[in-house]
């Protein structure tokens, strides 16, 4: 054999082994190095995308709370005109004082007939294991349970829940493992996957479900019925903890109410009313072996399980309807002026901001205060490549809005003379359990990102766990990429069971199995075949595109505020500003805490010398055309709030509201937002929306018309069809134009 040829080709011939294999080794090294770098960069991108979704999600939650704080304020301080009062009292219906027996009559299922044409499952009571399994199978096959059985099942559940304590206690049995699941959010696929992998609940297989069963996903009701079914069959072995979404007012915004109305047009109202009661009766926490504490949100520095064990938990129907505030808080009621920032002293960027909170009603000003970071493996923003540490601190100071530690705030809040002190204290204990998030720093401060509960630090964990002689705190409430995450020196564990929560491929779900040794073991999964087949790069890419689309929508809805903010940096009206100014203005308006300079290339192009043509920031457009553009923008911006209010008004779920109701809604919303909306503009709008000209407005059509098109990128068909949670989507309005006789 020709030695030189062999040498060149590097074949494995004995004397030449060294040469060929060293070449292969060098090749391998190169490829390994390249690949590891690639993966690391993907990881940074993934973190960034995650933060986008999470910040938009939490901003939405805060939004809703602001709206309700506003209505509460109105009720306390004004006597609105009678028509408006009717509207508000819809929202703030005082808890009816009927006795439970009267309610039982109201919820009675007996008069509801099941026709012969019904092909869904038939349930018999008392519920049996066979009955629930049948139910699970039926839901797997996308059948719907008859309203009669729904009400019957819910009625039985309500009866059972009323005798359960606020805190369930479980003893760890020597041969049993306890399964603990986190948020499910209406994602039936995930629950079925858990049952498939882990087995159905039974006395041999106890389960704890840690809240947020409903909202966002489209099978919230099915999940509830399954969980309640198992609860009825195994009341000692199935434990449900209430989550912050087990709240009928939150449900108005996040999809559960809509889902029920959609599936049960006739009995939806009754079902929702019964669920309202059931939610308020859900237990608040579970303790295993007096060592492991499980609740949905978390704790605060004032958490006291003895107090919680004693409260009348069903008094706390909704986080958004607190007990009547003590009188002195009326002085501090500038709280709800989220939109008030223009009136603040101190300049726009450094300005103090008052922030809304469910539990804190006083006013306070910003202070040098380290703020907790939102968590993705406890990480805050990703690669904010050009931010300094000082800028980070400034941002946090702006967001903080409080200068007192959380515990002291509570003290200043309550009036020892007032008789309501106990109510507020108790209410705060409950809200903290359902809404709080952990933070890396010590201390305890109000959770102004969500608007309820607090952020608590590792010192609080130690103190509370120590005080109650506990060793581990398990909670949910926050989506985690791997389905679970430890923090606070492994004393706090977050478990999240809704996979692909933000988008296909965004995260895995997980559940815990725990034996008598109380050591948690994790099982992770990801529902949906589609995402398992996606490559790493595709799944990051897909999620990223989705996040960017959601971001562009945010830019659109805040268009005029953004342009004003940009113009502050462009006194000569050149239309161009620097990247740094663009980023700072965008953050000031949108307040999402995102690394705008990193995101910029995806949102707007820059010139060679680092300037941007800021008018081109908005790359998408709505197609709605009416005379008054400002009302249009308000509409887009407050899409979710509007929908919430509409659903409250439409009490008979006809899907229609009258012009007058529409007008009242606008008036209310405009005073909340402190914008002027003329009666004429509202009338124009109403008329333009009344597509069939019959004097009433179809809510669903109205909402559909709000979806926006992202013309800046072409998405695969299925990605376009997928409606992002809580955000605006797209639609062509040509048919609507035609009906108006225009275009």
């Amino acid at each position: 054999m020709n030695v030189s040829v062999v040498k060149e080709k590097g074949y494995l011939i004995k004397g030449l082994l060294v040469h060929s294999s060293s070449l292969a080794i060098r090749a391998a090294l190169l490829i390994q190095r390249w690949y590891r770098q690639y993966v690391a960069r993907l990881e940074m991108r993934r973190r960034c995308t995650w933060n986008i979704f999470q910040s938009i999600e939490y901003a939405g939650e805060q939004d809703q709370i602001k709206l309700y704080n506003f209505f509460g304020f109105l009720m306390d301080h004004f006597t609105p005109a009678s028509s408006e009062r009717n509207l508000i009292s819809h929202i703030f219906r005082k808890n009816e004082i009927c006795r439970d027996t009267e309610w039982e009559r109201y919820f009675c299922y007996k008069s509801i007939e099941v026709s012969d044409s019904y092909i869904g499952p038939h349930l018999t009571f008392p519920m049996t294991f066979c009955g629930v399994s049948k139910l699970v199978e039926a839901f797997k096959h996308k059948q719907q349970l008859h309203a009669r059985y729904v009400l019957q099942l819910l009625g039985e559940t309500w009866r059972l829940l009323r005798i359960l304590p606020n805190i369930s206690h479980i003893a760890a049995c020597h041969n049993k493992q306890i399964t603990i699941c986190g948020d499910l959010h209406g994602q039936l696929e995930d629950l079925l996957l858990i049952f498939y992998k882990n087995g159905l609940p039974s006395s041999e297989k106890p389960y704890v479900f840690n809240g947020d069963f409903v909202d966002r996903g489209k099978n919230s009701l099915e999940i509830l019925l399954i969980l309640f079914g198992f609860l009825l069959v195994y009341p000692n072995d199935v434990h449900l903890n209430r989550g912050n979404h087990e709240d009928h007012i939150v449900n108005l915004r996040y999809g559960f109410t809509k889902e029920v109305w959609g599936k049960y047009r006739v009995h939806g109202k009754t079902i929702l009313k019964l669920l309202q009661k059931i939610f308020s009766w859900l237990p608040l926490a579970t303790v295993i072996e007096n060592k492991v504490l499980i609740m949905h949100g978390g704790i605060s520095d004032t958490t006291d399980l003895n107090v919680i064990a004693r409260v009348d938990r069903h008094k706390y129907v909704s986080a958004l309807r607190p007990p009547k505030a003590p009188h002195h808080a009326a002085n501090g009621s500038k709280t709800w002026t989220m939109t008030d920032r223009n009136g603040e002293a101190g300049g726009p960027v450094e300005g103090r901001r008052r922030v809304c909170s469910l539990t804190y009603r006083g006013s306070a000003t910003a202070h040098r205060h380290e703020l907790p970071r939102r968590s993705l493996n406890n990480a805050p923003l990703t690669s904010p490549l050009n931010w300094s540490v000082e800028e980070e601190l400034k941002r946090r100071r702006r967001l903080a809005g409080f200068d007192q530690p959380y515990g002291e705030l509570k003290k200043s809040d309550s009036d020892p003379e007032s008789g309501e002190i106990t109510d507020m204290d108790e209410w705060k204990q409950v809200i903290d359990l359902l809404w709080s998030d952990p933070m890396p720093q010590n201390g305890c401060i109000p959770n102004e990102v969500r608007g309820g509960g607090c952020y608590w630090g590792p010192d609080v964990t130690e103190e509370v766990l120590g005080r109650h002689n506990l060793q581990l705190l398990i909670r949910s409430h926050e989506c985690k990429q791997d389905g679970y995450e430890f923090c606070h020196n492994r004393r706090v564990l977050t478990i999240f069971s809704a996979s692909n929560y933000y988008e296909v491929g965004s995260n895995r779900g997980a559940y815990i199995r725990m034996g008598p040794d109380l050591v948690p073991h994790f099982i992770q999964y990801q529902a949906s075949k589609t995402c398992r087949e996606l490559t790493l790069r595709q799944s990051v890419g897909w999620t990223e595109r989705s996040a960017l689309r959601a971001l562009r929508e945010q830019l659109f809805v805040h268009k005029s505020d953004l342009i004003s903010a940009f113009q502050e940096f462009d006194p000569n009206n050149k239309g161009m500003i620097s990247l740094r100014h663009w980023a700072s203005a965008t953050e000031r308006v949108l307040n999402l805490g995102l690394p705008w300079r990193v995101l910029r290339p995806q949102l707007i192009s820059s010139t060679q010398d680092g300037m941007v043509d800021y008018h081109r920031t908005i790359l998408i457009d709505g197609l709605f055309q009416i005379s008054d553009n400002s009302i249009l923008e308000t509409m887009y911006k407050n899409h979710s709030n509007l929908e919430t209010i509409f659903r409250i008004i439409d009490t008979d779920n006809s899907g229609l509201i009258s012009f007058e109701e529409f007008r009242q809604t606008w008036k209310l919303l405009s005073s909340h937002l402190k914008t002027e909306i003329s009666d004429k503009a509202i009338a124009d709008l109403a008329e333009s929306i009344d597509f069939n000209k019959d004097g009433s407005i179809d809510i669903n059509e109205f909402m559909e018309a709000f979806r926006l098109v992202d013309i800046s990128c072409s998405l695969p068909f299925h990605a376009q069809c997928k409606k992002s949670k809580g955000s605006l989507g797209i639609y062509t309005l040509k048919s609507i134009y035609r009906s108006w006789g225009e275009v």
Binding site: Q32, R33, W34, Y38, L381, E392, V598, P601
Partner: protein, 162 residues
């Protein structure tokens, strides 16, 4: 990347900003320390292509005495130097292609998963099983599981940040 005299002077502060920002992303306790295991990701994300051996060297230089932590005040000067000297430049596409072709002895134009696995897990700076599985999921063709490296290279050497 044009560098005139003026921007040359401002380069170091800019680099500092960049490095600090990447560092902060992993500074979970907000105490200017990161876990040593995250250093690789940080350095990669700043555009560098070190080998594992290179990483070990850097870590040895900056790690705080077996605490498993790396403080910012040590990392910053070391990393600035790395960036100024362009110490770990990106791998040119053609070199990467050659590397794959060396492994693809039969010149098929693709690598079978077993082939690639053997090389990645037995030679050089060995991949863990997890890394290998991830690589195959990411790069292999859906249907036949082959790694068509030529197509991949042009797709994947594009800066994913752009």
């Amino acid at each position: 990347m044009t560098e005139n005299k003026q921007s040359g002077e401002s380069i170091v502060p800019d680099l500092h900003k960049k490095i600090k920002a990447a560092f902060k992303s992993f500074d979970y306790e907000s105490n200017n320390n990161v876990d040593v295991r995250e250093i690789g990701t940080i350095i990669y994300s700043l555009g560098c292509f070190p080998t594992q051996a290179d990483l070990h060297d850097i870590i040895a230089e900056v790690e705080e005495d077996h605490t498993g932590c790396i403080p910012l005040d040590k990392f910053l000067p070391a990393m600035t130097k790395v960036l100024l000297e362009h110490k770990f430049p990106p791998i040119p596409e053609d070199l990467l292609l050659q590397a794959f072709e060396v492994l693809d002895k039969q010149k098929k134009g693709y690598l079978e998963p077993e082939e690639l696995t053997k090389h990645m897990t037995e030679e050089g700076e060995l991949f863990t099983q997890e890394e290998m599985e991830e690589m195959l999921t990411a790069l292999a063709d859906h249907k036949n599981n082959y790694v068509y490296y030529k197509d991949l290279i042009s797709q994947l050497t594009i800066d994913p940040d752009l």
